[in-house]
Symmetry: C2
Subunit: 334 residues, 2 copies
Amino acid sequence: MAATIRDVARLAGVSPSTVSRALSMPGVVNATTRARVQAAADRLGYEPNRAARGLITGRTGNIGLVVPDLANPFFPSVVKGVQARARASDVAVFLADTDEDARAEAGLVRALAKQVDGMILCSPRASQEDLAAIAQETTVVLVNRLVEGIAAVTFDNEGGMRQAVAHLVALGHRKIAWVGGPQTSWSSAHRILGLTAAARDSGAELIEVGHFAPTYDGGMAAADQAVATGATAVVTYNDLVAIGLLARLHARGISVPDDLSVVGVDDIAMSRMSRPALTTVRLPKQRAGEIAVELLLAVLDAPDPDTIVGSRGSLPGELIVRDSTGVAHRQARP
Amino acid sequence: MAATIRDVARLAGVSPSTVSRALSMPGVVNATTRARVQAAADRLGYEPNRAARGLITGRTGNIGLVVPDLANPFFPSVVKGVQARARASDVAVFLADTDEDARAEAGLVRALAKQVDGMILCSPRASQEDLAAIAQETTVVLVNRLVEGIAAVTFDNEGGMRQAVAHLVALGHRKIAWVGGPQTSWSSAHRILGLTAAARDSGAELIEVGHFAPTYDGGMAAADQAVATGATAVVTYNDLVAIGLLARLHARGISVPDDLSVVGVDDIAMSRMSRPALTTVRLPKQRAGEIAVELLLAVLDAPDPDTIVGSRGSLPGELIVRDSTGVAHRQARP
DNA sequence: ATGAAAGCGCTAACAG
DNA sequence: CTGTTAGCGCTTTCAT
């Protein structure tokens, strides 16, 4: 059995409360007793029981993290960022994968809520109402989604899309196709906003191809329709879709970027490895995870949380140019 | 504030102990009182506080899961399996990513140990001694690693490698190169055992190229040495390495599989998407995660854990043939 | 079948 | 500065 605070107290010849103070409010106890307590604790390998502490302080030192699908490489990156930042503050992370099931999401959140100080919901599938209800029960930080009154860290989707369009227009493209993500996706909706504005400003034509699963297969499915638009460049909801699209284009003998240019979003590891390497708008995924933890901790510690909830961060995307984008037409080249 | 057991008791007009019994030992209480308690609990949205329960029962209903690096696509799959199986048994999962740091591993385990009933250590980097020490403090299940006296779920590395060799030999290959993983990797060591035996049995020659990082860059680094061996086929530690190798070969103008055949291990999602698609030994990663949870739960519930610790599962690998393997030489073809 | 009481490990008042 | 007391929310004897 692991050592308790009473074991340490007995060994150090003090009361349990002194041990508690010596360990968590060092300034308040006599230096020599503190040293004695510390020594006893070390000798017994004492680690306070967080659950017991949480019972009385109301703070568990744990946070929850909910993601829709770890198989999408976007999320492990965010998780990694959350992990790293949480560890630095000595908080432990409960992870839940909802398998893209919006209902499971609500259930998991409720089950976890009791054991955590707050939760980070990553690209949640739940409805705005459910999210609001959840935020009522526990402190919540949203990643990649904006809901009134809830703290969030998002990406600058509009800015990222502007960069992509600027790049393509500079290469001579005037007709750009957009392969959208899931119908309900918050970020897909915002990306199209940026795309539309950028196309208008630069005199390019934007053609929406529709909504597809945010997966490799989704990209395969979208490819033929994208080609049929007659566009010379395609921007996809994310890199996974772009890579699926690339595969289908290759199978059809359509050369990228000679016949068609392709731009993705995310910059997952795979994008660098695809052939041709994928031009993409890099989203600082890991950083988003770190910031989400900081935001959550800040809200938890704030005397007036509302002031912080207002200050949400929007992280810039960065255009990474690789081989999948080229001039508008093979024929246009010398 | 969330409802407590006393709130439910008051509303139902019974004592807290009755509520406790009604909810967790339904057979023991009068049917009508049970109904009343249930109704009260539902109305208040009562969820028992697990931390408080754990304090007295000694069981938290939580498990810990430690992985070395979520950026390696192998691990998210295992995590997903663990998640799914844990959720089915209503247990919550603490996740920790150690960033390949063996020392951080030990520290994280100790920090988590107090809050969980047991831990799943996935391909741990820690030394055998550290692992044994950890297993002393808390119940442990190892994934992809074998240590005396600790429950584990492993993959049949030898069998997988035999399948790979049989496939290559059938295609006419007689000289096969092996690109190993990290020097300390348990699975790398076991894969080479299977490779050696299979090569001996089939009269093929096996050439070890050395140890490389289990990453894309590791594969890039290994490519030229693999080519220099004069082998007609290369088997790599994992798919990530194989894909890096593919990239370097392509850059050098070496055609796969015409000039060289390549086989990976794992069957990560990326392998299907690479060009050429990668022949690989599929490891049931997600299943391994599920089994790890089952094993852990079984050990926790067992009156005599040792009987279970003995019965570890070894999951078979499955050869998935794709485009990266072909006949021994371009010249050999008609 | 139910209630009262005790206590899991810890911290926070309150005395001293 | 330190010890004593009480109690977080829950389960589990022990009575009744």
